[in-house]
Each structure stands twice: as C-alpha cells, then as structure tokens.
C-alpha cells in the first residue's frame, strides 16, 4: 500500500527533472496585443461605432443645475471615498451639479440595484455608477434611461447599452507601458526582471502581462524576462515566491513586478528583509496605502495605478457634458475641466488617460 505513495513521489521527482528543460511560463494570455508608442504619443483610438444607450425624452438640462447621485460598488472604503471626492470637487467647480454619493455598505449587487431603483423613483437627473455586476445591473440602468435620466459609469462597467458612457480608468496597454517604463528607468535597459502574479489564468493580470511582454519587446528589447511565478492572492506565498526568486537568481535579478495589490507589497517586503533595497527594484500595481511603508523607506520608487480622485472628477464632467448635449454619440473627445480633453475609445468609453505613478513625492496625498 505504501507503494502507491512511493510511486506518487517517484512520479513527482521524475516529472520535476523531466520538465527541467521546459522553459518557464510567462503568465500571459494569447489574445492580440496593442503596445503603445515608446514615447508619450497617445494611442490612436480604433474607430468603433457608438454602442451606448440614450435616455428617452430627457428634458433640456443644458446649463441648469442637475441633481446627481453617485452609486459606487460600496461606500466606506478609501478607494471609493476618493472617487466621491473627485465627483464632489468637480461639482463644486462647475457650480451646476448637486451631487451626492450613496452606495451599499458592502459590494452587493442586489443592494446596489435596490438603491438605484429608489433614486429613479425619487427623481434624479443623473446617475453615476460603478457596477458590482455588469449584467445584473443593466435592467435597472435601462429603467433609468427610459425615465429620461442621464447614466454614466466609471471604474466597473455595465453592458454598454445600459448606460450612455463609461469612464475607463486605464487600458491594459497603458498600464503595461507605465510598468515597463518605470522598471527600465530603475534597472536600466539591460536589466533582468521577474514577475509575481496571482494566477496565470486571472484575466486582468494575464492581459497586463501580455501587453507588458509586447511593449518590452518593442521599446526595451534588451531587458531580460526571467520568469513569472504564481502566488494566488496570498500575501505570505507572494513573500515566499519573491524570496525564492531572489535566492534562485542572486545578483542577476534586478527587478520584480508585482501584478496585484497583494503581491506588490509582499515582494517589497521580501526585498527589504533580504537587504536588497536599492539593488532589486520593485514596481507594481498596488494601492498607495499598502505601499506607503516601502515607499517611505525608499525601497520602492514606483507604484502604478490610476488616480481614483481624477476618475470621479472625469465621470462628473462626462455626465455634465452628456446632460448638456455637448457629448453625443460619435464624439471623439470630451472636455473634463482640469484634466483637459479626454479621448473616446471603444465606441462609448472615455479613457481617463495615462495611469498615475505614485512616488515618494505624492503617495501621502492619497488615502486608499
């Protein structure tokens, strides 16, 4: 009976040694990539027909003060406090928007639908939302459009025809460019790096990695891609995997990319505890709060994410433009206050712009 266990262990050591020659998996998906230009030239938006919805018999709201409710995924967390602040900033700046935020206390789609339904009944001019579920939220948003309410999404989309516009915080190729450019700036054009991701099949991470690969090949061809390791959404595993990478590659490893807000601080901690701050760079996607200790100690120089205050701010301006009738299907850009002109992409989405890179200089301005 022990033979069963023995054979399993034998199979393990066999497969381990057999696969030795096999090259490491990169963790990227197989979808086509669209790397941005190596300089700061913005992407040329691909032409796509408008696929959003339109309010039925909306009254003329041009220039009039409008009543707007913002329904984020949930309230009470730093991220959506920041988007609410952006919306409030924009409303104060415009002077013609009466905006309030009201969301579920936990990220629950049923609570969110009920809440939106109540606001439709009580009567508002505009709804801003970040959907907990793109499909489940669609019927109640369509009901709002049918009632003549302007509907704009941000952060998390619904099906396109359930809202007029969606403010997209970052495209995959934009994040990829910011990540790889930051890494190249820190470790040089010939540096070698590894990636700690959640799992190879997590859609967003796989997409980002694919775009990073394409952009690195195009714009930083001499950088060396060592390998990608999985660490689930597990902070201690991320820490252990980062340590193993450091142990395996020694001085060859110059940089680690963290692909999740769990992996990035854990990688930074591994580098800190290994005494490699300054010789191994950590660049990653993460929320500023999680990264503050590592940025303060100078171990991490670049944290990549979009700015949620700007995201809320842009969403408020888009809603205003839609209500005023200045942003109509077929438009290629929209003016968003201090953010300038934002371009329309994918038919009915508005791109916030390049992601924000949080550094020692600005990270303490953010609380999420």
């Amino acid at each position: 009976m022990r033979n069963v266990v023995f054979s399993a262990l034998l199979a393990l050591s066999f497969s381990t040694s057999l696969s030795h020659a096999q090259s490491a998996w990169t963790g990227a998906d197989d979808l086509p990539t669209n790397p941005l230009a190596c300089d700061a030239t913005p992407a040329t938006p691909a032409a796509a027909d408008y696929d959003g919805g339109q309010p039925t018999n909306a009254p003329d709201r041009k220039g009039k003060t409008i009543k707007v409710v913002d329904v984020p995924k949930l309230v009470g967390i730093g991220y959506f406090n920041a988007t609410s602040k952006g919306i409030a900033d924009a409303a104060a700046e415009m002077g013609t928007m009466d905006a309030k935020t009201d969301g579920p206390s936990k990220a629950n789609i049923d609570d969110q639908i009920t809440l939106i339904d109540n606001y439709i009944t009580s009567g508002v001019d505009g709804i801003l939302f970040a959907a907990n579920d793109p499909v489940a939220i669609a019927p109640v948003l369509k009901k709002a459009l049918a009632a003549g309410i302007n509907v704009v999404g941000y952060d998390a989309n619904s099906t396109p025809d359930a809202r007029q516009w969606f403010v997209n915080q970052a495209e995959f190729n934009g994040i990829a460019k910011a990540m790889v450019d930051s890494m190249a700036a820190e470790i040089g054009e010939d540096g070698a790096f590894a990636i700690v991701t959640s799992t190879f099949t997590t859609p967003n991470q796989a997409r980002w990695i694919a775009e990073m690969q394409a952009y690195q090949a195009k714009c930083h061809p001499d950088m060396k891609w060592l390998e990608t390791v999985e660490a689930q959404e597990d902070n201690i595993l991320s820490f252990n995997q980062s340590n193993t990478l450091i142990n395996k590659y020694g001085d060859e490893l110059k940089g680690i990319f963290g692909m999740t807000s769990v992996a990035t601080p854990a990688a930074a901690d591994a580098v800190t505890q290994a005494g490699k701050c300054g010789s191994i760079a950590v660049v990653g996607l993460a929320t500023p709060n999680a990264m503050k200790p590592y940025v303060a100690s100078d171990c991490v120089k670049s944290v990549v994410l979009w700015n949620p205050v700007d995201l809320g701010y842009a969403a408020a301006y888009v809603l205003r433009a839609a209500a005023d009738g200045t942003l109509t299907p077929g438009a290629t850009s929209v003016s968003a206050g201090k953010l300038g002109d934002l371009s329309v992409i994918n038919g009915s989405e508005i791109l916030l712009g390049a992601p924000t890179i949080f550094t020692k200089d600005n990270i303490n301005d953010f609380d999420f």
Partner: protein
C-alpha cells in the same frame, strides 16, 4: 504481518509480536518516514540541478516562510486525530491577525498584542468545541458556520483596509535568535512539545482513543465531551500562535487571509499521516508535510516548472495517502 500500523504508537506487546527496531519504527512512523524521504530526495535532486537551492537564504525561505502553516497544522492534527475536522481555521487566523495588529498599532504592550490572538483563538474554538461536544452538531457543520461568520465579520469590521505602521518590535517573525529565524525555532519547538505531549501524557493518549473508537474510550472512563472541548481550545491556541507568525512576517497586515488556507492546513495533517477517520497520526508528520509542500513549491521555481504541478502533485499525494489509509483499515478489518 499484523496490520498494527494505525494503532496508537505506544502499546504493549506480547513476545510473539516483538519486532525489530527498524520495522517498529516504520510501522509506527511509516508516513512520516516517507514524507521525510521525499523531502531529502527533492533536496538532492534540485540541488544537483541548481546548487543555490540549499543556500542559507533559500533554506530560510523554505523552513521559515511556511512555519505558520505547520503550527496551525499541529492543532489541526489533534482535531483530526480526535475524529473531528475544522474548516474555519483560515478565517480564524485572519480575524486573529487583525485583532493582534490593531492592538499593536493602538499602542498596547507588544506582549499583549501577541497574547490576545492565543486567548481569543482558544475562546472562539472552545465555543465551537462546546457546540460539537454537547449540542452534538457535527464539527464540519459547526466550523462551516464559523467560517462564514468569521470571514464575513472580518470584511464587515475592517472594510477591507490594511493595517500598516506596525511597531518594529511586534514583527517577531522577521527576527532571528541564535542565528536561526524565529518562525523556524517556534515551529520545531512546538512540534516537539506537542509530539511528546500526544505520545506520553494520558490526555494526549486519550485523543487517539476517542478518535479511534469513541464508545470504547467512553467505556474506559475518558470524559469525551470535556476532552473534545479542550482539544478544540488547544487547537485555537495553536491557531493563535500561527497567527503571530503570520501577522508579523510582513510590515502590513491584510484584512484577507490566504485563499484556501484551511485546506492547506488540513492537507498538511493528512499527508503527514493523520488518518482523516481519526485515531492515528502525529504532529511530526504534519510539520514534515508542510515542509514537503514548501520544498516542492520552491523546487518548482528552481527547475522552472509551472506551479500548476504543485497543485497536481499535492492532489495526487492526498489521494495516495487516503487510499493507503483505507487499504490498511480494510486489511485490518
């Protein structure tokens, strides 16, 4: 050969059954020896491929980085030996980590921030034990409920925010004592103490009796209900100790726990030779199994094999171990 392998390790023997030392060792610690051999084989093979595998730093990563799982698996092994299961330990560790970190940041003495998860862990698990022992609810049901309550409560209370600005003295898992990482020392000390306690004390032996045959244990005068509550409380204390290592490894405490942590802990106990049906197994086995997982995980990176193999291999190991256990039981019956 009489199939005595899954009886409690200490037992009187008649002259007819006296066996050689090696054979006895194998019959009492068969699974532990297999797991240990697997670790050694892996170390030799991977080191031949890449000598950096046995660098001091990598040994620290393997042995110290997963010590919290081994500590949690000690308590889990006791629970499973007694014939129960606990699927809530991952969520419990998350809750206890948040409590400990919050106290440390709020300025309470460090020792208090370390003691709190142990005490609270014991209290919560004592309640679970009471429900299991006196209300006679199967432990899988009670702990599934506890899992939901703890996980939901954690997210509701923290709102997903992370604890930062932990005082440096609090971060004991990052420290070294006599040149060894503290988590490693804690793991070894607790494993040895728990193994001796389970083997040589009346209380420890009674756990095997309860898990092996509860009616017979009751007939011999073992207070089963009280012992069940006690073993759950002890398991809670080990979860608290695991929490200290878990929460102090990094400079931030997340309000989430590693996904499937409870399954990892249960798997460590089972592959270490603890019978899922109760009555046999040791905490040496569960600790060795945790080290085996860590070794496999590190080895896969060193030889460039996808981490998917880790899951496949661990799945295979579980099936093989449980199958071997079933076959042994059938052979005995």
């Amino acid at each position: 050969m009489t199939a005595m392998v899954d009886l409690p390790p200490v037992r009187s023997r008649t002259g007819l059954q006296r066996q050689g030392f090696i054979r006895r060792l194998f019959s009492e610690y068969g699974q532990e020896i297999i797991v240990l051999s697997a670790i050694l084989v892996l170390f030799v093979v991977v080191t031949l491929i890449n000598p950096r595998f046995i660098s001091a730093n990598n040994l620290t990563t393997i042995f110290s980085g997963n010590a919290y799982i081994a500590v949690a698996a000690i308590g889990m092994a006791m629970i499973i030996v007694t014939g129960h299961i606990d699927v809530s330990v991952g969520a419990l560790i998350g809750v206890l980590a948040t409590i400990s970190g919050t106290l440390a940041v709020a300025g309470y003495p460090i020792w208090f921030a370390w003691l709190a998860p142990v005490v609270v862990g014991m209290a919560i698990n004592a309640v679970i034990g009471i429900l299991v022992a006196y209300a006679r609810i199967p432990s899988i049901v009670v702990t599934l409920g506890a899992l939901s309550i703890l996980r939901g409560g954690l997210i509701s209370v923290t709102g997903g925010t992370w604890i930062t600005d932990l005082p440096p003295d609090f971060l004991i898992a990052q420290k070294r004592l006599l040149g060894f990482p503290v988590p490693l020392l804690v793991m070894v000390a607790l494993t040895v103490l728990a193994a001796l306690w389970m083997r040589y004390t009346a209380f420890g032996r009674s756990l095997y009796a309860i898990g092996g045959n509860a009616e017979a244990a009751l007939a011999t005068g073992i207070p089963i209900a009280r012992r069940t509550v006690a073993v759950f409380a002890i398991h809670g204390a080990f979860a608290g100790l695991a929490t200290i290592l878990f929460a102090t490894q990094l400079q931030v405490i997340q309000s989430t726990v590693p996904p499937n942590l409870e399954l990892t802990v249960i798997t460590a106990a089972v592959i270490g030779g603890v019978s899922i049906l109760g009555g046999t197994g040791t905490v040496i086995g569960s600790t060795l199994a945790t080290i085996l997982f860590a070794t496999i995980g590190s080895a896969l990176i060193f030889v460039n094999v996808s981490a998917y193999w880790l899951r496949a291999v661990i799945g295979l190991l579980i099936l093989a171990t449980v199958l071997a256990d079933m076959l042994r039981r059938r052979g005995r019956g």
